[in-house]
């Protein structure tokens, strides 16, 4: 297993952790009656993300944001591995991505401005550099 694939697996597990971090407070705040329901708009009153506390809302947005990043990162990791282009540079990018996405969650939850955006950008840049490395 290349370091990129290890980082990808850990990033996917991070997403599972992010799910739990979001779902537990959301269920406590909203009650199972709402979260287990089919969530039809006329019964909910307002979208669920508007009914939770600010911190839980941030954890929801952090989760949604990581989907986008994770898909791009998955493409970068698998193509780099498949085409035998793994180098110390691409491995360093992969670990940078993982560290950035792990730091992104508390940065969002605690509203660290502008650190959250800078951390996001570090992960985004790491993925972009891996994609460039895979292409050349």
């Amino acid at each position: 297993m290349t370091p990129e694939l290890t980082a990808l697996t850990l990033a996917a597990l991070l997403q599972v952790v992010q799910y739990a971090l979001m779902a537990v407070p959301a269920n406590l705040e909203l009650g199972a009656g709402k979260t287990l329901s089919p969530r039809d708009p006329d019964r909910l009153g307002a979208p669920l993300q508007d009914q939770v506390s600010p911190r839980t809302g941030r954890l929801m947005r952090a989760l949604n944001n990581h989907f986008e990043g994770l898909i791009l990162f998955a493409i970068a990791c698998t193509v780099v591995t498949m085409s035998d282009q793994s180098t110390p540079f691409t491995a360093a990018c992969a670990w940078t991505y993982l560290a950035a996405r792990a730091a992104y969650v508390p940065a969002y939850a605690f509203g660290l401005v502008p650190w959250r955006s800078l951390i996001w950008f570090a992960g985004f840049l790491a993925t972009t550099l891996m994609l460039v490395a895979a292409l050349i």
Binding site: P54, L72, A74, I75, M82, G111, A134
Partner: protein, 127 residues
């Protein structure tokens, strides 16, 4: 162009879409809001809204396209047809972005359909 190259190029297209969407959002809502925790929801309109929806759609398309390419490679099913499907997918999605941004209604839906059919063809070829 091999299938993985097409996938990488598509990833770049999504990155470009993301950057355009972020620029549009920044123009309408301001850098301060973009950097904030966005606890109060603000929405964009016009071209920034269309870029936001185009990005959402491109990410969905990427989730379907990436496994298809990986399957083609892993199962050794690469043929001229699968390469062509990847090329048409790429062209369709390149057309999709400006078609959405500039409200070319019929063309956008046509490009979207072409992209989806190409992705479906890749899964069919991998079987």
């Amino acid at each position: 162009m091999t299938e993985p190259t097409a996938l990488i190029l598509y990833a770049f297209l999504v990155i470009v879409t993301l950057l355009l969407q972020a620029t549009g959002t920044m123009t309408q809502l301001g850098m301060g809001y973009l950097l904030s925790s966005r606890d109060e929801k603000r929405t964009v309109s016009g071209i920034a809204g269309r870029l936001e929806r185009a990005l959402d759609n491109s990410v969905t398309a990427m989730v379907l396209f990436a496994p298809a390419v990986l399957l083609i490679v892993v199962t050794d099913s690469s043929t001229n047809q699968s390469v062509l499907a990847c090329q048409v997918f790429l062209i369709a999605r390149v057309i999709y972005l400006p078609a959405y941004a500039f409200k070319l209604t019929g063309i956008r839906s046509l490009a979207w359909t072409a992209g989806l059919l190409c992705t479906a063809l890749l899964y069919f070829l991998a079987l």
